[in-house]
């Protein structure tokens, strides 16, 4: 089995940001805020967050904030809850949450809660259980969870549960590992995991491991490195991670590395991208791979960052 090509991955992540000379790199610019979160969290897990200029990142993040309090995926784009969470997470990585007008961000998120407890992604009203997780996590990071109706929020998430123990994007939606992560995460953050049938959900998640050791997101799908995060973190949150083979999963993730130029792909020998690089590294961190910072499965941030926020400690820079 190969080893994690740490240095190559750091170089790869740093290079992604600079690359703007082809269609593939510019066409993703509308979600640059998500990209920043993926890349920077991966760097932090690798212990290399200090290779980037924190002030530069923070000022760019803040330039994406709107009057409404929400953040957009890039300068000049419309705000959305997806990017608002990424912005808050990036600031948390750098211990810069104090630059935020907390009430303003809180009001934006609170304003997106609907009567049934669900959350819309933005003013245009699309509802998704992912947005529930995002809202709950975002407010948890800001110590403002009491500003929404948590009970209703939890009830909505629970209403997305299926007979197979999994969760979908809305009530009645097909179970999907990504949605399951969000729903389980939302329930974990609100202390409501008793709503999960742990054996049943653990069973469904365990069946996602295929022969190669990789995890898929739904029945009959090919394995994909990103599910190393979605499935694994869910299994950890419901205490069923011993049901899968960790060794085989580690091997699968390491096989997806580009050991020459850095980066991790969805499956062995595919093209790498920053999204899969982050989820591969985060998955390895959950699997306690040596010399990686541990990551929190519900907050999707390094454990030391979460502890700092929870304890309200402030580090001098």
């Amino acid at each position: 089995m190969g080893e994690l090509a740490t240095e190559k991955h750091v170089q790869y992540i740093l290079s992604v940001e600079k690359k703007k000379d082809d269609f593939q790199s510019v066409v993703m610019e509308h979600l640059r805020m998500n990209g920043a979160y993926w890349g920077l969290t991966a760097l932090d897990i690798l212990g290399k967050l200090d290779t980037v200029d924190a002030d530069e990142v923070v000022s760019w993040v803040m330039s994406c904030q709107h009057e409404s309090g929400g953040f957009s995926g890039n300068v000049g784009h419309d705000p959305h809850i997806l990017y608002t969470l990424s912005a808050v997470q990036v600031l948390a990585l750098f211990d810069k949450l104090d630059v935020l007008d907390v009430d303003k961000v809180t009001n934006y998120v609170v304003g997106l809660q609907n009567e049934d407890g669900s959350f819309s992604g933005d003013i245009w009203g699309e509802v998704d259980s992912r947005f529930s997780y995002i809202a709950i996590l975002c407010l948890s990071l800001l110590h403002q969870l009491d500003k929404i109706n948590v009970e209703k929020a939890v009830n909505f998430v629970v209403s997305c549960k299926n007979m197979d123990g999994g969760f979908g994007c809305t009530p009645g939606g097909e179970s999907h590992s990504g949605q399951i992560f969000c729903c389980v995460g939302a329930l974990a953050l609100t202390g409501s995991l008793h709503h999960v049938d742990k054996d049943l959900l653990g069973w469904w998640l365990c069946e996602r491991q295929v022969k190669s050791g990789g995890l898929n997101g739904r029945p009959e799908k090919l394995p994909d490195v990103c599910y190393s995060w979605w499935v694994l973190s869910s299994l950890i949150m419901i205490d069923r991670v011993h049901w899968i083979s960790k060794e085989k999963l580690i091997k699968f993730i390491l096989d997806c590395q580009d050991t020459e130029n850095g980066g991790i792909s969805d499956r062995p020998d595919d093209a790498v991208d920053v999204y899969h690089t982050y989820f591969g590294i985060a998955g390895l961190s959950l699997l306690e791979y040596p010399s990686l910072k541990p990551i929190d499965p519900a907050y999707a941030l390094p454990v030391d960052v979460v502890n700092r926020i929870r304890l309200g400690k402030r580090h001098a820079i």
């Binding site: 066409v27 419309d78 009645g172 365990c206 009959e220």
Partner: protein, 425 residues
């Protein structure tokens, strides 16, 4: 510097060519990014040598290709074209928003709500440029939003229907585009509010999803869209859809999305058949629906070896059967020739599992999967049906040995589950 301006001018020119093509043929129903060398091939296939721009602008080049309402864009020009589309759109939408604000101010206190002429022009610019941009970058949320913003001020049904066409065109090339599906739902809600025929919408959306599901397998968003529409259906429409998708499902037995859709339809039908109706025997249909699905699924399981989606479907069907229909009561154990008693049902399921769990040494992987799925199915049934008494017959079945033999890698799972079942006895 001069070179830079040249590049920009060329990009702007590409964008206007692109927008002209889109305007010239409102019936374009498919779009794709194509390497220019493929244009020649495409032309040969069609016995024609015209590129789109030669038709439109009279220039012979290979940047766009248009035939039979199919539009190809050369991969060589994507980068400059995208940059031009994005810059032009962003400038237009900024201008539009500031004009709107000004208009709001001048309109203040005026009950007449109309748009000034200049605003009309900017508005149509936003619509034109956002369309071009979305065909290049399907999840550019701000562009979809700008269209919603403009549409939400209009009462024109045909404009809404145009949006469905645009979303459909985007989906022809980006079948997983979250924003394109979401935009569709936003428009459909408006159409329904304005009294547009739900029946018409259901028909068109089902056709669209089926077409997209054909080219993009196990497409979660496509099927989720169709599943979302179930809430608009009557019991009869749900029954119709259930029948309509049977053939497709049988041809795509690995597509769990389609089977999930069928499960939603069945639950809809079940919910619409109230308890009173079930008790009075008026809805014989619901038993038949379930029985037919169980038989059909069994037939597929035997025909297509080792298909996980078929077994997952069976888990659902059987648990619902046990929860809603099966009975110990000998008096009502038959409904229209359908046996409802538990022992009969279990006997059948055990026979199925038996016939699927046989393994010889030289068997292929599919048979191993089939054996694993069948053992896991029986375990699932025992775990999820409290009214199913784990009698001696099931006990001697020795699931434990079967599962550990055919799927040793899930040893910890089988161990925990069987332990928990035994301790709950």
């Amino acid at each position: 510097m001069a070179e830079n301006t040249d590049v920009q001018a060329k990009a702007t020119d590409l964008l206007s060519q692109f927008e002209q093509i889109l305007q010239s043929d409102p019936l374009i129903d498919e779009i794709g990014f194509v390497h220019p060398s493929q244009f020649v091939k495409l032309n040969e296939e069609l016995g024609s040598s015209k590129s789109a721009s030669s038709e439109i602008t009279g220039n012979e080049n290979s940047e766009f290709w248009l035939q039979h309402h199919k539009l190809g864009i050369s991969t060589q020009i994507l980068h400059p074209l995208y940059i031009a589309a994005r810059n032009t759109f962003m400038a237009a939408t900024r201008k539009y928003r500031s004009s709107c604000n000004q208009d709001d101010q001048t309109m203040a206190g005026n009950s007449l709500c109309g748009l000034s002429n200049s605003l009309n022009i900017v508005e149509s610019d936003v619509m034109k440029h956002s369309r071009a941009l979305l065909l290049l970058s399907c999840d550019f949320g701000t562009a979809w939003n700008s269209r919603k913003f403009i549409l939400s001020k209009k009462q024109n049904l045909s404009l809404y229907l145009d949006e469905l066409l645009l979303s459909k065109l985007v989906l022809s090339f980006f079948p997983k585009s979250e924003q394109a599906w979401s935009h569709r739902r936003w428009v459909i809600k408006l159409l329904v509010e304005k009294g547009y025929s739900v029946e018409e919408i259901l028909k068109k959306e089902s056709e669209l999803v089926e077409r997209i599901a054909e080219m993009s397998k196990m497409n979660y968003r496509a099927w989720n869209h169709r599943r979302w529409l179930v809430s608009y259906m009557s019991r009869e429409q749900a029954l119709y859809e259930l029948n309509e998708t049977r053939k497709w499902a049988a041809l795509h037995v690995a597509d769990n999305c389609c089977f999930h859709y069928r499960r939603r339809l069945m639950l809809k039908i079940l919910a619409e058949s109230s308890c009173a109706e079930i008790n009075s025997g008026l809805t014989l249909g619901i038993y038949q629906v379930w029985k037919e699905e169980l038989d059909w699924d069994e037939m597929l399981i035997k025909r297509y070896i080792g298909r996980e989606a078929l077994w997952i479907h069976r888990r659902f069907l059987s648990v619902c059967w046990m929860r809603h229909f099966a009975t110990d009561n000998k008096i009502f154990n038959q409904e229209g020739g359908i046996k409802l008693d538990i022992p009969f049902f279990i006997e059948n399921e055990l026979n199925l599992v038996n016939s699927c769990s046989f393994l010889s040494n030289e068997d292929f992987e599919d048979f191993q999967t089939q054996a694993t799925c069948s053992g896991a199915y029986l375990l699932w049934l025992i775990k999820n049906c409290p009214n199913l008494k784990v009698d001696d017959k099931l006990r001697t079945y020795n699931l434990n040995t079967l599962l550990k033999k055919v799927c040793p890698e899930r040893y910890p799972l089988w161990d925990s589950l069987i332990d928990s079942i035994e301790s709950s006895d």
